[in-house]
């Protein structure tokens, strides 16, 4: 009796084991077999949310299953990023990574790094700009750079985001590239790019280093001017704004970016299906038109390209944060 029951148990266990082994295999063959959740670490209505929703709509058409965007906000992006990293790696929970993932761990705010993800594709890059008030005497970036070099340390004031945010690092890196101390221009922390642009227009600041797209409404209103973009090439929407390389011959680039990723150890089938689908969505007209209409910068990186980008960004942002005395880890 005992052996029999043991055998039955064993058989049942083997059967269960086989079944549980067989299930992912079957699911993998037909991924996605059910709706996929896409986690957005930032609030509904924001830029990241908009980009992710456009991509999710494209993936839905490509792969024939609903891709539902879920906003997991809180903790300055930590909560949503953590939710993507800790999801089951079955391909049914993916999400969007933003620049913060290469910054938060340097500040000691989370244990999670880019290594906790399976990168799938980089879909956007918004380089930092340099914006001045429309009444500012600086017409070109050369004049602005000369004025900065001639100024006392801390005399000029800049803003664009909070202390240690991506635009703060963009400014610090630019100053270092010009041979100055990273805090030569004093940083005035703000709660975001919009209030910084408002303060620039109100005459409270000398310059802002947020992205050009975030300055767009003020540029259109004729209240501010953009002098430079800190990206590898000029922006499609603003072809008149030069890059740092061509105007000041500096190699510094900085910007906010967004990419699609899943938790670590994503099945190969999911990676293959996603990379094909994401490439088609990225190259589709709908995505291009949307990004150009909003002024978001287009930059593509496939799974390997995004992985390299993450590694490179993690290093350079880490260095910039250490130089500015913002890193803790």
């Amino acid at each position: 009796m005992q052996t029999l029951s043991r055998r039955t148990l064993f058989g049942a266990a083997a059967g269960l084991g086989a079944a549980s082994l067989a299930r992912p295999a079957l699911a993998q063959a037909r991924w996605p077999a059910r709706p996929v959740t896409m986690i957005c670490p930032w609030a509904a209505g924001g830029g990241t949310d908009a980009v992710l929703r456009i991509i999710a709509a494209g993936l839905e058409r490509e792969l024939g299953q609903p891709f539902n965007v879920v906003n997991r906000t809180g903790g300055n992006g930590v909560v949503g990023h953590a939710a993507i990293a800790s999801a089951q790696p079955d391909g049914y929970t993916l999400g969007m990574l933003t620049s913060e993932i290469c910054m938060l761990h340097w500040q000691g705010l989370t244990q999670i790094t880019y290594r906790d993800y399976t990168p799938l594709a980089l879909v956007n890059f918004d380089p930092a700009g340099v914006q001045v008030n429309a009444n500012s005497p600086w017409q070109t970036i050369q004049q602005c750079a000369d004025a900065i070099k001639a100024s006392r340390p801390g005399q000029l004031k800049a803003s664009g985001t909070g202390q240690g945010g991506i635009w703060h690092l963009a400014l610090g890196g630019w100053l270092v590239a010009m041979g100055l101390r990273p805090d030569h221009v004093r940083w005035v922390p703000s709660t975001g790019a919009a209030p910084a642009m408002q303060d620039l227009a109100a005459g409270g600041l000398d310059l802002t280093t947020n992205s050009v797209v975030e300055a767009r409404a003020m540029l259109d209103a004729g209240r501010a001017r953009s002098l430079v973009v800190m990206g590898p090439q000029r922006l499609a929407v603003w072809p008149d704004i030069p890059t740092l390389k061509e105007s000041l011959n500096l190699d510094w680039t900085a910007g906010a970016w967004r990419g699609i990723a899943g938790p670590r150890n994503l099945p190969q089938e999911v990676q293959d299906a996603m990379s094909g689908a994401l490439k088609r969505v990225y190259e589709g007209n709908e995505y291009k038109e949307f990004m150009n209409a909003r002024g978001f910068g287009l930059l593509w990186g496939d799974a390997q390209g995004f992985a390299r980008h993450l590694e490179e960004q993690d290093r350079s942002l880490g260095e910039a944060m250490r130089a500015a005395g913002l890193a803790r880890a």
Binding site: M197, Q198, A201, A202, A217
Partner: protein
């Protein structure tokens, strides 16, 4: 004129009209349910707007937010649970009217003056948007500091308890506003290693907790209040015209404060309601009646928060700067639909702009019949057994807190704030003052520290800049007024006392 007609044609499209009607009902229901807020109503609309035409998409946001801000007054009035932060300033007043058996008048005031305020705000948006935008743009962090400080001082004015307890409650709110890393130094404070606290404590979970959950907890302990006499629910609009005639000054002052505060990015409807309620009380001839169910303050602040809703769109439309959490979401939708904010929206897309104005006016007009229906339906709550109402409210609070960020931590926060609110209320500390502290705290700190960084530590620019100096003078007058009154009374008292002693 051509643009106006084109705009009207855009609004008259069947899909836009359907969108307005559907989102009106949606906004009214969400706003009226305790625990579900106007911000949540707007956030949940974003995925829907994806599938709508540009005008219809914006129409849903405008209509739903205007309706939700009004109907947030309903649970405030009937159950003492404000539906939105904008209603928190005068919840006690409205509830006091309900306990006096004047629920229909109180709700009627909220409805009628909300609609009037909304229409006034829209007219201001139409006529003086560029001028208003100039005001908004002349505000630097120095001016914001004084504005936020003035807002904080309202804490002692609106509370009926002792000023010391009101200030203590406000300080608790300021302490809570310190949590997180959204501070000028970008350093995490009081997070206890919890990543959920890095972003700080949002106003909505705090508000839902201290008002709704604490109210449910009180209901558990208190015996059922004597049922309101069963009588036919009176007319909602009757008497509103009389009140309009009686308080024209208050109405206009509320409208104006609402428009000006709404235009300032980051201030919005909540601050407008607080400041106008406090102003109303300060200048009233019947100050003692405030808090006992007196319509005057309701008239003024009810109008103010709705006119602020419209005018907070000015910086959003002209410069892409959000006036409050609702317009922050709306800007995203505008961009997604190719209606990029900026002055070009007014020139190249003028017909769309007129369509937006018309939607605002339409929304505020249909608010009246829809609002009456909503009020009639929701007053049934007064007759429903409390044992049935309270669990539903608790459930809604949890759902509402969760739905904004899909973060279970928010539900926990609501529960914690419920306990805190309950204890404070029991000991006579006004929870509204604490909510005000949370709303204003980060603004006071952020604007003060950034101003000091900009001025290299000098305090002079705080009073040097023209608008800043004016606001500083206002703040100090408001601050020193009670002291002055006290000194005058003391002096008079001393003169009187010798004669008394000689007797």
């Amino acid at each position: 004129m051509q643009n106006l007609i084109e705009g009207a044609a855009l609004v008259a499209a069947p899909d836009v009209l359907v969108a307005i009607l559907a989102s009106a009902i949606y906004g009214l229901v969400i706003g009226a349910l305790p625990g579900l807020t106007a911000t949540m109503a707007t956030a949940l609309l974003v995925p829907v707007t994806f599938y709508l035409s540009p005008i219809a998409a914006v129409a849903t946001i405008i209509t739903a937010s205007a309706m939700a801000i009004f109907s947030g007054d309903i649970p405030g009035c009937l159950l003492r649970i404000p539906g939105t932060p904008a209603s928190a300033a005068y919840t006690d007043e409205a509830y006091a009217m309900t306990r006096k058996g004047q629920a229909e008048t109180a709700l009627g005031i909220c409805l009628w003056f909300s609609a009037l305020g909304g229409i006034f705000g829209t007219l201001a948006l139409m006529v003086v948007a560029p001028a208003l935008a100039e005001i908004a743009l002349s505000f630097s962090t120095f001016e914001y500091f004084w504005m936020a400080l003035l807002g904080l001082m309202c804490a002692t004015l609106v509370a009926r308890s002792s000023p010391v307890k009101a200030i203590a409650a406000m300080l608790i709110g300021l302490l809570i506003a310190c949590i997180g890393m959204e501070n000028p130094a970008g350093t995490p404070r009081f997070t206890f290693g919890l990543s959920d606290l890095l972003g700080g404590v949002e106003v909505i979970p705090a508000l839902v907790g201290v008002f709704a959950v604490a109210q449910v907890m009180r209901a558990l302990l208190m015996p059922e209040p004597p049922p309101l006499p069963r009588r036919r629910f009176g007319s909602i609009l009757a008497g509103q015209w009389g009140l309009t005639r009686r308080y024209p000054k208050q109405l206009m002052r509320g409208n104006t404060i609402g428009v000006i505060v709404g235009v300032l990015p980051g201030a919005g409807a909540d601050m407008a309601a607080w400041i106008s309620y406090a102003t109303s009380k300060k200048f009233s001839k019947e100050q003692a009646k405030y808090g006992t169910g007196h319509p005057e303050g309701l008239v003024e602040s009810g109008a103010a928060n709705n006119s602020a809703v419209a005018s907070s769109w000015v910086p959003a439309l002209l410069f892409g700067i959000p006036g409050d959490t609702i317009t922050a979401i709306a800007i995203g939708v505008l961009y997604m639909k190719g209606l990029n904010p900026g002055p070009t929206l007014f020139t190249e897309n003028a017909s769309s702009m007129y369509a937006l104005y018309l939607i605002f006016i339409l929304a505020n007009i249909i608010m009246i019949p829809f609002g009456i229906m909503m009020i009639r339906t929701s007053t049934l709550v007064l007759r429903a057994p409390r044992a049935a109402v309270m669990p539903v409210i608790l459930l809604l609070c949890a759902v509402g807190a969760y739905a904004i960020g899909n973060n279970p931590f928010a539900v926990l926060l609501v529960a914690l704030f419920g306990c805190l609110g309950f204890v404070m209320e029991r000991n006579g500390y006004p929870v509204a003052a604490m909510v005000l502290g949370i709303v204003m705290g980060s603004m006071v700190e952020q604007s003060f520290v950034s101003s000091l960084i900009k001025s290299d530590g000098s305090l002079l620019p705080f009073v040097e800049r023209p608008i800043s100096g004016l606001l500083a003078a206002l703040t100090f007058t408001a601050l020193l007024w009670p002291v002055g009154v006290w000194v005058v009374q003391r002096l008079r008292g001393r003169r009187l006392r010798p004669s008394g002693a000689a007797e």
